[in-house]
């Protein structure tokens, strides 16, 4: 898999963060819209005073497909000024989500992995005929995430399916090291420094169970979860680069050497996908996903446990069929 980091240049990352914020905004707006639609619907219940419907000049097209929706009665006489239009008249909801009748769904999402657990790695290498150690505390930056999911309804609102995602992020390392003295055993020099821009690409493949939850007539939510296999290919620090001069009692950190390593582990994933239904077959919204697994990578002698996954936020498009 090509590294997405290469697809998204560094200077576009702020813009990408904007996309993430946008995704969150879409989720929030969807939920607000759903709440507003529900309020409208409740206001049209019998026995409660109703505002007179607005006059129409043309018949509204019937909603395509799905169950027939109750239409607002045609006006019989002019309405007083200031009366509001009944929202439900403009278009019928694509389908009632309380009882999902479709065969399945597919979702594509683009966003970011906003929270990824860091890790600590230790590397042992040889300097001046003695073991040197490197300890790196890695923090993972926010990186672009692309995901796709699909599911087939198997019972009521329950669907079975799967999903994949790809995340590319850069790592920053806080490095500490102990470098042996060239002339004496057991007289290490301590060094510390940082390293940025190490690459990391994480992929996920999951079997997912999804449950469609109707939030309102136009907004519904897929809650999903299941086992996942997460794989990572990332740079790991192997050696410290340094300078030294006589009497060699100190050394100066100048950087690190890295190796690209990969590994994977089975874990879990789960999340929610909220969509505003633009039509019976298309919705847009946002998705939150959290995944976790771990793997063991051994850059040099010492194995390191590397957590995988994290919290993804994305804007998503849903296709219903």
């Amino acid at each position: 898999m090509a590294r997405l980091r290469n697809v998204l240049p560094t200077d576009l990352r702020p813009a990408f963060r904007g996309v993430v914020r946008g995704a969150l905004t879409v989720v929030a707006v969807s939920l607000l819209a759903a709440a507003s639609a529900d309020a409208q619907a409740q206001s049209q219940q019998p026995g409660r005073p109703q505002p007179p419907p607005a006059p129409t000049t043309a018949a509204q097209p019937a909603a395509s497909g799905g169950a027939a929706q109750p239409q607002a009665p045609a006006p019989s006489k002019p309405q007083p000024a200031g009366a509001t239009k009944p929202l439900a008249r403009k278009s019928a909801p694509p389908q009632t989500s309380k009882s999902w009748k479709g065969r399945g769904f597919a979702v594509v999402a683009a966003g970011a992995q906003v929270a990824t657990q860091g890790y600590t790695s230790t590397s042992v290498f040889t300097v001046h005929a003695e073991d040197a150690t490197l300890t790196a505390d890695a923090s993972i930056g926010i990186g672009p995430a692309f995901a796709a999911r699909a599911g087939m309804r198997v019972w009521k609102n329950l669907a079975l399916g799967g999903g994949v995602s790809v995340v590319s992020a850069s790592q920053s390392l806080d490095v500490t090291g102990r470098l042996p003295h060239p002339f004496q055993f057991n007289q290490p020099r301590d060094v510390e420094g940082t390293a940025d821009g190490l690459e990391r690409v994480e992929t996920l493949a999951a079997l997912e169970v999804s449950w469609l939850v109707a939030v309102s007539r136009r907004v519904d939510m897929l809650v999903f979860g299941g086992p996942a296999y997460l794989h990572v290919r990332q740079d790991m620090a192997t050696r410290i680069q340094f300078t030294e001069a006589y009497p060699y009692d100190t050394a100066t950190y100048t950087g690190i050497e890295t190796v690209s390593m990969s590994g994977g582990g089975v874990g879990v994933t789960g999340g929610v996908d909220v969509a505003y239904l633009l039509s019976k077959h298309l919705g847009i919204g946002g998705e939150l996903r959290y995944s976790y697994a771990s793997t063991t990578l051994t850059p040099s002698k010492e194995p390191s446990t590397v957590p995988l996954g994290g919290l993804q936020v994305a804007v998503a498009a849903r296709i219903l069929f």
């Binding site: 003695e130 003295h181 002339f183 004496q184 009497p247």
Partner: protein
């Protein structure tokens, strides 16, 4: 006006000459001898008078400055060595050491000779002098060893014009003074500055070695330290060893100890190479000194000068020098004895490679430091001080790298205890009497053996050094000393090193060593400091007043 000025100048000159004469003959800090005058000026008035005297002697050509060197431990201080000359010829042992602070003289210490009446036109040339030595000893003198024309003060009084040269003979490294008129020997003494050794072994400890890779082979060439440090493996070729030490040949990379995989197994090479570097490091870290000459002089260690298996048939002088000894041969060259084959004993002990004891290696390199600093003459009291300084450096290096304790690879106040099995030593700084050496000035050896007892009387200064650090009671005087404690040993090391290397003249005495180390302590740690008190008590305890 001129009539007045001229008599006034004469009067001043006369006054100055009288003052100098009074200072040189009756000054409380000066010891007068028939010809030799010891100078020890540390107080303002004395110092100013000697400053003026030095200026006059410089003008008259009686003194020549060898140059100034910055103090390694005190910023702003400098030390100037001034050699005495007579009619353009250096007076052997005549030297003043002037310490200055920002250009102002702080102290003057040294020896000057008076009443010299010697014709400085030699009847012999330097090559004739070298030939005379060659005829006397059977040793050849290489072109690298130029005889130096000097005025030699004689022990029995008077002076003689002589050539001085240091020659490696079959069994010794000797200094000869050849009378420049008659070709006879005016003076000779051994300059074999050795640990006089005993030695046990190269222990099975693992050390790091700085080596150089050349054409796929690792050579014992340390290029990581500022001076290049070579360890030569002469593979038992004694004649080649002698040619090298005598200055006839230079060694090349084919003589350097080598190892294919850089996992060195030749213990003699490992220890010689590692300990030479460690000693350089100690001098640098402790005293800011850059090697033997403070200019990163190349250091060369020679191991395997003979073959162990030949020891039974080796002449006694070869056995004593190249099997059971180690010596500093000048010009940064150390030669380490081969020891005896496993199972062979001498004096009831097995003897291992002489490079296997860190105090022995540092001791020999200490002689190199002395060579390039005070150059303490290797006989009588100055020779004992020379040996003491090497013991002090050897022991200090040992404490710098090893844990205090008893036994192999432990730091202690014994010299050479790591060389033999069962473990023995050849000197003790804590208890010189245990090895038959004096621990008090009143018991000093006054005979002529051992260059006037340089390896025996060193016990006096050694014991002072020990007491100033560790506290204790001198066994002869019964006087107790409150030392600074092992945790502060660095202070005593610095005071002794500075005093011995930078303040003492070549012809120093024990009394001058006391004055120099006390002055160093005051300069470094202030008057009335614990260090000054400890050193003063220590010298007093060993009878040096």
């Amino acid at each position: 006006m001129r009539r007045l000025v001229r008599p006034a100048r004469r009067a001043l000159a006369l006054l100055a000459a009288l003052s100098a004469a009074v200072l040189m003959s009756a000054h409380p800090s000066a010891q007068a001898g028939p010809n030799r005058r010891t100078v020890a000026a540390f107080e303002g008035r004395d110092v100013r008078a000697w400053d003026a005297q030095i200026a006059r002697m410089l003008r008259d050509g009686q003194l020549r400055s060898r140059g100034e060197e910055a103090d390694l431990l005190l910023e702003g201080r400098s030390h100037e060595r001034l050699d005495q000359y007579h009619d353009g010829v250096k007076v052997f042992g005549g030297e003043l050491v002037r310490q200055a602070h920002d250009g102002q003289t702080v102290s003057v210490l040294g020896v000057v000779y008076a009443g010299i009446r010697v014709d400085t036109e030699p009847a012999l040339g330097p090559q004739e002098a070298a030939a005379a030595v060659a005829e006397l000893t059977g040793a050849a003198v290489g072109p690298g060893l130029d005889p130096e024309l000097v005025v030699l003060p004689r022990d029995e009084g008077g002076y003689v014009l002589a050539y001085r040269l240091r020659v490696l003979t079959d069994y010794d490294l000797e200094v000869f003074f050849i009378d420049a008129s008659s070709g006879g020997v005016a003076l000779r003494y051994s300059d074999l500055q050795t640990a006089v050794g005993t030695g046990q072994g190269v222990h099975s400890d693992t050390k790091k070695l700085s080596t150089s890779l050349r054409n796929g082979t690792n050579l014992a060439i340390d290029a990581m330290r500022p001076p290049t440090i070579y360890t030569y493996d002469l593979k038992g070729n004694l004649s080649r060893t002698k040619l090298y030490v005598s200055g006839f040949i230079t060694l090349n990379e084919s003589d350097v100890a080598a190892d294919a995989d850089n996992l060195w197994t030749d213990a003699a090479v490992v220890d010689a190479h590692a300990y030479a570097g460690w000693t350089y490091d100690y001098l640098f870290k402790r005293f800011n000194r850059r090697g033997l000459d403070n200019r990163d002089l190349t250091m060369a260690s020679v191991v395997h000068p003979v073959r162990r298996e030949d020891w039974v048939s080796a002449p006694s002088e070869t056995l004593n020098l190249y099997y059971l000894n180690a010596f500093y041969a000048g010009r940064g060259i150390m030669v380490y004895g081969e020891g005896l084959p496993p199972g062979a004993t001498m004096g009831g002990r097995q003897w291992n490679y002489f490079s296997g004891a860190i105090d022995v290696v540092a001791h020999e390199l200490g002689h190199g430091v002395t060579d390039y600093t005070s150059d303490l003459i290797y006989r009588n009291e100055s020779g004992a001080l020379n040996e003491a300084l090497s013991d002090i450096i050897g022991t200090s290096v040992e404490f710098f790298y090893q844990q205090a304790g008893a036994g192999y690879m432990k730091a202690d106040y014994l010299l050479g205890e790591d060389l033999t099995a069962p473990s023995g030593a050849f000197r003790s700084m804590a208890n010189p009497q245990a090895y038959g050496h004096p621990d008090h000035y009143s018991k000093r050896y006054l005979g002529t053996e051992d260059n006037g007892g340089v390896h025996r009387n060193s016990g006096i200064a050694n014991n002072a050094f020990y007491l100033a650090i560790e506290s204790g009671t001198n066994r002869t005087s019964g006087l107790s000393v409150q030392g600074v404690g092992a945790a502060h040993r660095e202070q005593i090391e610095k005071a002794f090193f500075r005093g011995f290397t930078q303040l003492l003249p070549a012809n120093a005495t024990f009394a001058m060593a006391r004055a120099a180390t006390l002055q160093a302590a005051r300069d470094l740690y202030g008057s009335g400091s614990d260090v000054e008190r400890a050193i003063e008590q220590a010298w007093t305890a060993v009878g040096v007043l």
